[in-house]
Symmetry: C2
Subunit: 303 residues, 2 copies
């Protein structure tokens, strides 16, 4: 029972074939193209693999209607808007497939095979330009009743008075979102008008007081968010990934220290850095394919 994970990214697409135990049989990175081009790339990839894929899942970087598999909006792959990519690919490949949001695929992979391996109740936080969160319980993302659960980036935990892209004031994202860290540095007088989070970390490391203050605020906000997640969800483990976590000594580590110092009844869980890197989405997609179609095939085989 082999399954194919397709991580359909903005510039490159990752193809990963796994066996039923999740072991990698083959993998390849191809340039991103239209669905017809992707179908051709996958056919070539599968011809060179020793085992046929029996199902696939394809990630979508955008919003997806989970009941129909239709993409509502994909900023980077606009040809997907209003299209059900798994349906199109399934026709091209002759095997059943399903679409999954890219963040969900990555969270499933980190929770099951990456830093969360061995724990049944993992909360994954990705500190990128935006902040994504997902509560992965027994390997499955808890989506909530309207697909909105896990939005840890949009819980107000910062004292900065900044209006978030979502419209609320003081969301976690305003303090620690990749671009936001640069903007907060500018708010404190920095001349660099489009600093990245890495620029702010570099400035802090060379003693820039404004940069240090910005990262202190970011870490305190993340610490408060961790306490909120502990109070409401109480995960066994928090896994943190994304660009801003690449300098953990300035962000993740002081955030955990803040959470531990300010915990009262909370059990602050262990926090680990994400470990799968750029293949996380493809691993998660392959797992979703296996989850989705093993059951369906078993039913189809019933007498």
């Amino acid at each position: 029972m082999s399954a194919l994970g397709i991580d359909y990214g903005g510039t490159h697409t990752k193809l990963l074939l796994v066996d039923e135990g999740g072991a990698v049989l083959s993998r390849e990175t191809v340039p991103t193209g239209t669905l017809a081009e992707l179908g051709a790339s996958v056919r070539r990839f599968l011809e060179t693999a020793s085992v046929a894929a029996q199902s696939f899942a394809v990630t979508v970087a955008g919003t997806l209607d989970p009941s129909t598999g239709v993409v509502r909006r994909s900023a980077n792959l606009p040809w997907l808007d209003g299209v059900a990519p798994a349906e199109v690919l399934s026709e091209l490949l002759g095997i059943p497939g399903v679409a999954v949001q890219d963040g969900e695929a990555g969270a499933i992979a980190e929770a099951r095979f990456g830093a969360g391996r061995g724990s049944d109740e993992v909360f994954v936080i990705v500190l990128g330009t935006g902040i994504a969160g997902a509560h992965v319980l027994s390997g499955s993302v808890q989506r909530g009743a309207h697909g909105g659960a896990g939005e840890v980036g949009h819980v107000p935990v910062a004292d900065n008075g900044v209006t978030c892209s979502c419209g609320q004031v003081g969301c976690l994202e305003t303090a620690i979102g990749g671009q936001q860290v640069g903007l907060r540095w500018r708010d404190r007088g920095a001349e660099n008008q489009d600093a990245s989070a890495q620029d702010v970390v570099a400035a802090a490391a060379s003693g820039d007081e404004a940069a240090v203050a910005v990262l202190d605020d970011a870490a305190r906000a993340l610490g408060r968010a961790i306490l909120n997640v502990s109070a409401l969800v109480d995960p066994a483990l928090i896994v943190v990934g994304g660009g801003v976590s690449r300098s953990p000594e300035w962000t993740v580590e002081p955030a955990v220290a803040y959470a531990r110092e300010n915990a009262t009844f909370h059990v602050v869980p262990e926090l680990r850095l994400a470990s799968l890197g750029v293949w996380a989405g493809a691993h998660g997609a392959a797992a979703v394919a296996a989850d989705t179609f093993v059951g369906a095939r078993a039913q189809a085989h019933r007498p």
Copy 2:
């Protein structure tokens, strides 16, 4: 397959026998006594019932180790400290039993049979002296990894600077906990030194400005808590019970209005008032008994 729910309260104990469909066969309220006295009461109750109970669950008003069933601490029934009440009662009654926290039993009952009936993803909030919360997914409470999930009373959402019983500042409980509402009224100059939430509501209804301000603060804090729950858990429905919800026009209704006005990406769920009243705990306990022992009995009957 009949199941007995025992709601072991501070002064009275409720006994409820249900059939396998959950229909009530018999019920009775007895004065609360020791476990030996409770065992005798239950025996008398079952003798008058037409059907034998095949299992039971007993509620614990206190903290419970879910893995052993041992009570850590019960403020109102101190003879339970360090005791496994279900084990003792099981010996006395000759049927298998399990202990369940009283708040968890009430939340299960409201979600399955009360105001949450028909919805698969319910968040229950009880506004009492303390604030209890529980995320009930497909009829089961999501306890989290350390039994701490759902603590909506201890998420900081109030601007009052008040230190909570838990040690944090500005928890929901400091704004809307039963006694806390009275204390906030005193903070604003009221002469009544031990006002209840109902006293504050009565004063607000007769135009006391300080009381109106206290209830405004309480409703705003509850509205923010609802937004936090929507962002992290995203339930389909919120059920609110407890004494402070008895004047919903001053608390729950303005809180929902605040949440809807301030929602951005959130889907603010429908909010309903709890409907089962004082029998909720016994209903929930009976359901837990049925859940726990139907599986065990089925295994025992395997050849």
